[in-house]
């Protein structure tokens, strides 16, 4: 089924066997509130790792029945991280989520060489799914949060993450646009050079299951009319499902302008670990928190 709105992920998950989300230091109102809602919607089971007393207290304050969660008591922050990772390694969870543990500690636990979740050589990257009211499809974009200046190898990894996520969202053969400031192959602009390489790698099947074109400016990548005016041929211009940004600034500004200026809800996860990892921030809207849980569950 082709998913064109984030809400549809939630609907789809209701009819599927339930997966389990493990929350690291899940003892704050944000994590408890959002995961409780996900449980109530019937899309996921949740294990909260943290200080059991605190969890129960917060549940009480929020009028949430703590019995809907599986609670694993571990009052110390880093130990709760290690415990959560252990649960995933034991197969007792399909996705992991950051609670009130600091981002640094959360990442450190994920990346821990002995017990962590990131295989050696694997590249961690951030995937964002953007729903814009003016568009007939979702946009899967990266990297807006983790890799500042991806090199070619990292861009190949990001491309594969974006493609895999888009396929899970029901697009059979995603169209991936490698974004730059222009559609011309300008050898003086590194973004254009990398885009040309990625595009040819797509032609040659070195990056599979997608149609890749780039460099493409954002307008011609997503807007058919702009692509037509510029006379750009091929399947990707005007129809891109995935946007691969040349650097974090471009990607970050894009998704933030989409949320703040264009009323776009979104969902985001970190790819590259054994299971999808949610890195939600307290600043995220309720909607985004729920959709991110749904996305992680779908991909997990």
């Amino acid at each position: 089924m082709l998913i064109t709105k984030l809400e549809q992920i939630v609907e789809m998950l209701k009819n599927k066997p339930k997966k389990r989300l493990v929350v690291v230091y899940g003892q704050d109102s944000h994590s408890i509130g959002s995961t409780s809602k996900a449980i109530d919607l019937g899309i996921v089971d949740v294990t909260l790792v943290g200080d059991e007393k605190k969890i129960k207290k917060v549940c009480n304050e929020m009028n949430i029945d703590p019995n809907k969660f599986t609670i694993v008591n571990e009052p110390e922050e880093i130990k709760s991280g290690l415990k959560a990772v252990q649960l995933i390694n034991e197969g007792k969870g399909n996705a992991i989520m950051k609670g009130i543990i600091s981002t640094d500690n959360y990442m450190r636990v994920l990346l821990n060489k002995e017990v962590g979740l990131v295989p050696k050589g694997s590249i961690l990257s951030h995937i964002t799914v953007v729903e814009n009211p003016n568009m007939d499809r979702l946009l899967v974009v990266g990297d807006v949060a983790i890799i500042p200046y991806p090199d070619l190898k990292q861009k190949i990894a990001i491309a594969n993450y974006l493609i895999n996520a888009t396929i899970k969202l029901g697009v059979e053969k995603p169209k991936l646009a490698v974004i730059a400031a222009t559609e011309k192959a300008n050898p003086k602009m590194p973004a254009c050079v990398d885009a040309s390489i990625l595009s040819k790698m797509g032609d040659r099947g070195q990056i599979k299951n997608a149609i890749i074109d780039g460099p493409l400016a954002l307008d011609v990548a997503i807007d058919k009319e702009s692509a037509e005016i510029k006379g750009l041929k091929g399947e990707v211009p005007g129809n891109a499902d995935c946007l691969l940004f040349p650097n974090i600034e471009a990607g970050n500004v894009f998704y933030k302008s989409m949320t703040k200026l264009a009323n776009s809800p979104l969902a985001a996860i970190v790819a590259g670990a054994k299971v999808p990892a949610i890195l939600s921030s307290r600043g995220d809207s309720e909607e985004t928190k729920l959709y991110s849980i749904a996305l992680a569950t779908l991909l997990g």
Binding site: L152, M201, P215
Partner: protein, 303 residues
């Protein structure tokens, strides 16, 4: 215009066209005189021989060639002869420049002279050959056999454009250009394959026009339809390349020499980048190839 598919058709194609004036630098060896004499007899060239008049006449007599069919300008010094012939081409007194019995270094020095030479500032000098192989049903335009050892991206783009331009002159409207490598995969560790990806994209975006470019491709995928089928590679070249742009001079040079030696190939080549065609032939080339070279320069001198 019907495309010229074999080099013998090249000479026919010049019939009925006004002969081109060729300024020959130090035209006083039997090799040069023999080749240019034949071109004049066939009617597509007129020769201005710049060199030692006495020696030219003597060599003509030895070969049984009537020297009166040439315009002869007496200049006994080879460097001065080069400068004079280059000047004639610059002034439009001649359409083509050709090297005779003068060292290539001295000859090229005159051609490359910044104030008085034939290469515009910043232009890339390269070399393109039209290769006629009995087993291939059309000509292959190949570059660079002689000038640029390790072309960088800018040079490769220039080489591609020169070869495409030559193919156009042969009547090949939208030539298929293969950027040759040892594999069709892009390997970021091999800069040439990276450059190929960029050139392809430039072609797709209309930055290099009037041709279809794909690469990297190996010679099989460039020139053999069966190989394309077997490998299942999607390429607009589809084993029917008109132009082969090689990654290095050694590769290109070895390719054509191998085919001349073992594949019955014939060849005509020309320096590229100059404002008018420049013919530099080696003495070891066959009589036929020499004649083809001169014919090629006359074709390229057509507007």
């Amino acid at each position: 215009m019907q495309p010229i598919k074999k080099l013998d058709q090249l000479i026919k194609s010049l019939e009925g066209k006004s002969p081109k004036k060729i300024a020959v630098t130090f035209a006083q060896d039997p090799n040069t005189i023999g080749a240019i004499s034949k071109a004049v007899d066939l009617g597509f060239a007129q020769a201005i021989m710049i060199g030692d008049k006495e020696i030219i006449i003597k060599e003509c007599k030895k070969l049984g060639v009537d020297y009166q069919k040439f315009e002869i300008i007496d200049e006994k010094n080879d460097v001065k002869a080069a400068a004079l012939s280059v000047e004639m081409v610059r002034n439009g007194d001649a359409d083509v420049l050709m090297k005779g019995l003068i060292g290539t270094d001295k000859f090229l020095k005159a051609v490359l002279n910044k104030e008085k030479g034939l290469l515009p500032p910043k232009a890339v000098m390269s070399y393109v050959c039209a290769l006629d192989i009995p087993k291939y049903d059309k000509l292959l335009f190949i570059t660079d056999t002689a000038v640029i050892p390790f072309p960088d991206l800018k040079q490769k783009i220039a080489m591609t454009k020169y070869a495409v331009n030559m193919a156009h002159k042969f009547g090949v409207e939208n030539p298929k250009v293969a950027l040759v490598s040892c594999t069709e995969k892009v390997n970021p560790a091999i800069q040439n394959t990276v450059n190929d990806a960029i050139i392809c994209k430039m072609n797709q975006r209309g930055q290099i026009k009037n041709c279809v470019i794909d690469g990297p491709l190996d010679i099989f995928l460039a020139c053999d339809k069966e190989a394309v089928k077997i490998k299942g590679v999607q390429t607009p070249i589809n084993g029917e390349a008109d132009v082969l742009v090689f990654p290095t001079l050694e590769a290109c040079n070895t390719f054509y020499k191998g085919l001349m030696l073992f594949g019955g190939g014939e060849l005509a080549g020309l320096i590229q980048g100059t404002i008018k065609p420049v013919v530099v032939m080696s003495r070891s080339e066959s009589e036929k190839s020499k004649l083809y070279c001169i014919a090629l320069s006359c074709l390229m001198a057509e507007d």
